[in-house]
Symmetry: C2
Subunit: 306 residues, 2 copies
């Protein structure tokens, strides 16, 4: 049993069962969820504790997948009922997922509790109801917890703008995709949108652009990272969450929050995400070695420095 203090990074989010269809195939009931992908990716850089809820149907083999890594599972709670289920289909361009079915199930009962002996230095609030994100923030001791980041989605931006505004005022960083950024900032130009979102609270904003890379707004500074070029994107599910996991894992590992470390963190996140999409679910990450991450990272630099 790992000592709780060994988890300097914590993620609160969803653990799910996904059914996914891409132009390359179809998989039923694969292991998914924002916190699963995030923690698996982050674990390449730092031990990470996962706070989430699953139902009684959650397969033992999926828990074992997380146990392969330095991921704290003591608060992966089992509740009566079924695990959160998502079914989606990607069009041929792989850019947009069409949700075919969402069953919240035990997620409706999720009341994340941070115990007194669990005080992460780095915290990631994955894409869940901003009301829950606020409940977690209310339990976090600042400044001991030195860096809090969150994700969100269109559903909450449109459905719970008041709660989300409160979350944004209290986090250090937000990670959103380009569509979410435009919606949140009510601004088509992404550079302006990033600056506007900073004005909503977080000093650091990351805008993910999928095949076009990512933008970083860090205080007054700006950084643009292209995407690692991939000819075969097999399944985009989890790309955003593993990107965030790589970013947060790298920041936690280095313990440094200056601009240069943020730039490196984005590059590490992009590389982990580039592996994720090479196979269904967590399949590719399960065979990934840190040496492969370093190797691709070096190649990446060659591809975008001039």
């Amino acid at each position: 049993m790992t000592n709780p203090s060994q988890y300097p990074l914590m993620v609160v989010g969803t653990v799910a069962i996904d059914s996914v269809e891409t132009p390359f195939g179809k998989r039923d009931r694969v292991f998914g969820g924002s916190a699963s992908y995030f923690s698996y990716a982050a674990s390449f850089f730092s031990p990470v504790e996962l706070i989430a809820v699953v139902g009684e149907d959650f397969p033992a083999e999926y828990r074992k997948i997380l146990e392969e890594r330095p991921i704290g599972l003591e608060h992966l709670t089992v509740c009566p009922g079924k695990t959160f289920y998502w079914k989606g289909k990607y069009e041929s361009d792989l850019n947009t997922a069409h949700t075919l079915d969402t069953q919240l199930n035990v997620l409706l009962e999720f009341k994340p509790k941070l115990q007194a002996n669990r005080e992460p230095e780095y915290l990631f609030l994955a894409n869940i109801d901003p009301t829950l994100q606020l409940e977690v923030l209310n339990q976090v001791k600042r400044p001991k917890c030195k860096f809090v980041a969150c994700d969100t989605m269109n559903f909450w931006i449109e459905g719970k703008p008041g709660e989300l505004a409160k979350v944004l005022k209290r986090v250090d960083m937000v990670v959103v995709n380009d569509g979410e950024a435009r919606l949140l900032a009510k601004e088509a130009n992404l550079i302006k949108a990033g600056r506007k979102i900073q004005n909503l609270g977080p000093g650091t904003v990351i805008i993910k652009k999928g095949e076009h890379g990512a933008l970083l707004f860090h205080e007054e500074r700006f950084f643009s990272l292209p995407a690692y070029p991939l000819e075969d994107v097999f399944d985009p599910t989890g790309a955003g969450d593993t990107f965030a996991g790589g970013v947060m894992g790298y920041l936690t590992k280095t313990g440094d929050l200056d601009f240069d470390h943020f730039k490196q963190a984005l590059a590490h996140g992009a590389i982990v995400a580039s592996f994720t999409v090479e196979n269904f679910g967590l399949d590719r990450l399960r065979t990934l070695r840190n040496s492969e991450i370093e190797e691709r990272l070096n190649h990446f630099k060659e591809l975008c420095h001039f």
Copy 2:
């Protein structure tokens, strides 16, 4: 009068009168056209000869704009009739132009003639009918003309695929935007699309992605350049043509066609284009100094190296 041999770079394309509406304003009958934008941008790096046709209504003041720069105008021919006219409107996201009116006018009579004493080392076939591009290629002496590049558009990709295929087999480089690349390669993934287009002939392919930057496929090698971040895009007209002008101008200036020079050429093209869109038509480029290009280029490197 400049000696024709002083023009190592030549562009064949359109000189036009544009009426443009953007969310920031409306301008009637401004100076436009692919060859105008291209040559003005290229002239920051190399003298350039412009081969195009205008009508009797072409304003003397527009010719004077080109005369501000080392641009050869001896073959900017005046034909009976009216100058090519384009009217377009940009939506609030500035990404797509809706064509409201196109009057080809004298363009219908355009028969580009390269005289014997005009043998450019570098040639750019701007976006015109591939039949005309082929006529120019038939007049070019290889290997004295050591590098030929072309542009094209959806209209020709769909309307004249046979002629375009012949052009592509005979050029060294093609510059297209992301939508054109996908259409030309019949492939959604841009990395695969770039490789497929290389297989159609040109050893070098540039895919422009607007606010997301550009991709370079050069023989076996690949390079990804983000866009220079701009909060205020005033008028996107001419961005692609001035990008190409900067790329070709830089290549001509250095006289070197290795991978590193192509990378630098893309960066120079992106910077010139970033100035273009800051005002209507050629207005911004007319006050641009080379020192400003260098300054922004240095800033650009800081923004995307890690």
